[in-house]
């Protein structure tokens, strides 16, 4: 969080710079089967974020030391393309992308029925082609659609969305300016059918009341996003 609380981002009508109300999401579109050589794939645009996720497997896990005798392992990589940001991103892993890869893997391992595929590996490659704000949420949500597209059994899909605080107002789904100058960010990974959580992070400053409101905004948004995910998998219009 940049913490520049003096940048005015909510107008007198309570609307945000891009015209959204506090609980509104940016535009979302979801498309499956976009990587023809993969077993499952998904392209998700969310505002001007764009993620492409490919799933390969289950396949042989090598080197053998990564194999687990009783279950499959997920090999998750989150990566930002060099041209995805305003200043060019140097290629290769950095500490941020490694952490996001890890928490995404932890979230997805909580829902994939890993014990069905002992000693195998399922590879999930998340590529951020264009970044605005909230790329980890886009990546995790798109990954669960790609897993479903690959026919990997899961207890539920994961819907990931973040809420935060700008100018002391709790709002859902921060855009780039709001993320840069906002005061808090609360990304969550929600199982839409049960309301349970598999992913949670937060940074910034929220009172107990603000925190509860942000939590509720995320839960409400998850229901809407889930409908789009299901529609895309059924081949319907996800716009």
């Amino acid at each position: 969080m940049g913490g520049y609380g003096d940048v005015q981002m909510i107008d007198e009508n309570g609307l945000r710079l891009d015209g959204r109300g506090p609980g509104d999401l940016r535009e979302i579109s979801i498309e499956t089967g976009v990587v023809p050589v993969a077993d499952g794939s998904c392209r998700m645009t969310w505002g001007t974020n764009e993620a492409i996720v490919a799933v390969y497997g289950p396949m042989e896990a090598h080197p053998r030391k990564i194999q687990r005798q009783d279950r499959a392992v997920l090999d998750v990589s989150y990566n930002m393309a060099p041209f995805s940001t305003t200043d060019r991103m140097r290629p290769g892993f950095n500490r941020r992308s490694r952490e996001i890869s890890k928490v995404t893997k932890d979230a997805l391992e909580s829902v994939v029925l890993l014990e069905l595929y002992p000693r195998s590996k399922i590879r999930i490659s998340i590529e951020i082609i264009s970044a605005e704000a909230g790329t980890r949420c886009v990546g995790l949500t798109a990954a669960s659609v790609a897993l479903a597209d690959a026919g990997i059994p899961m207890t539920d899909m994961v819907v990931s969305v973040a809420s935060g605080k700008i100018n002391d107002v709790v709002v859902c789904d921060l855009n780039k300016e709001e993320d840069n100058y906002g005061e808090a960010d609360l990304p969550m990974g929600i199982l839409p059918n049960s309301g349970e959580l598999v992913f949670l992070q937060m940074d910034g400053d929220l009172s107990q009341e603000e925190f509860e409101l942000a939590w509720k905004l995320n839960m409400d948004a998850a229901t809407l996003i889930h409908q789009k995910m299901v529609a895309s998998l059924k081949g319907g219009d996800s716009q």
Partner: protein
């Protein structure tokens, strides 16, 4: 990149098809796959393109940085071209530092663009000896079903030709289009079952032998050549390929011109 095991059955099948003048996906020997090229597809890049050739899909993005000119060329900017094939693009591409295959891809495309002289490096100078633009072309594969070379080269030149120098953001005057005066085009051939074919698909690459890449400029001048993988070829075979490349690069150049 992990080299997949090549089934002998696939090699035998490809050989038999070649003897009957057929290809595994039903194409003619010199026929390319369905081509789709789009410019300006990446919102954060200063120039961009997406190319789809059959099931091969790539992006190219152009970014700019301000660099200090090299001491021996104080009046010139620079061009950097890098190719990445990450694990998203196919099951045999692994995570980790760039593989020799990905490095070869980037370097061959780089040579074709650089040596054609399509970018006037003198025009990239801002303050001689102190500041110049560095043009960075990033090639990024999304789906690898063979012939990433041609897809990268085509996406690369379209992205460069659509690029705008972001001078305003760097507070160095107004934005202006990057001057790209020529359109170098690459054509790649692979020997499959004892004969060269154009635009190999993934299975032809897997069961094929050596490949040859040719980049030709607007006036048919040769700007880069590369022979890759194990295999032996004759002068006559090369002449046959070159004859095809002269015609095909003209067709592809027209596709590029129609977009911009």
């Amino acid at each position: 990149m992990t080299i997949p095991i090549v089934p002998n059955l696939l090699r035998a099948h490809l050989k038999e098809l070649a003897e009957n003048d057929c290809r595994i996906d039903g194409r003619q020997r010199w026929e390319g796959r369905a081509l789709d090229v789009e410019a300006g597809v990446l919102p954060r890049a200063e120039g961009s393109a997406r190319v789809r050739m059959g099931d091969t899909i790539v992006f190219a993005g152009v970014k700019f940085q301000v660099m200090k000119p090299y001491p021996d060329r104080p009046n010139q900017g620079g061009l950097m071209c890098s190719a990445e094939v990450r694990s998203v693009a196919g099951r045999h591409w692994e995570a980790g530092p760039p593989s020799p295959e990905a490095i070869e891809l980037g370097r061959v495309v780089d040579r074709g663009i650089r040596e054609s002289g399509c970018i006037d490096v003198d025009s990239l100078c801002i303050i001689p000896g102190e500041k110049a633009w560095q043009v960075i072309l990033d090639l990024y594969a999304i789906s690898d079903d063979g012939n990433l070379f041609d897809a990268f080269a085509l996406a690369g030149i379209v992205a460069l030709r659509s690029a705008v120098v972001p001078a305003e953001r760097f507070e160095i005057g107004e934005d202006y289009p990057l001057g790209v005066s020529k359109t170098p085009i690459m054509c790649s051939y692979q020997k499959v079952g004892a004969r060269f074919i154009y635009d190999a698909c993934g299975r032809e690459e897997l069961g094929g032998d050596e490949r040859i890449h040719i980049t030709l400029g607007d006036d048919d001048n040769v700007h880069s050549l590369q022979k890759g993988l194990k295999g032996i070829f004759t002068t006559d075979e090369f002449k046959e390929i070159m004859d095809h490349a002269r015609d095909r690069t003209k067709e592809l150049r027209e596709v590029v011109e129609s977009l911009l």
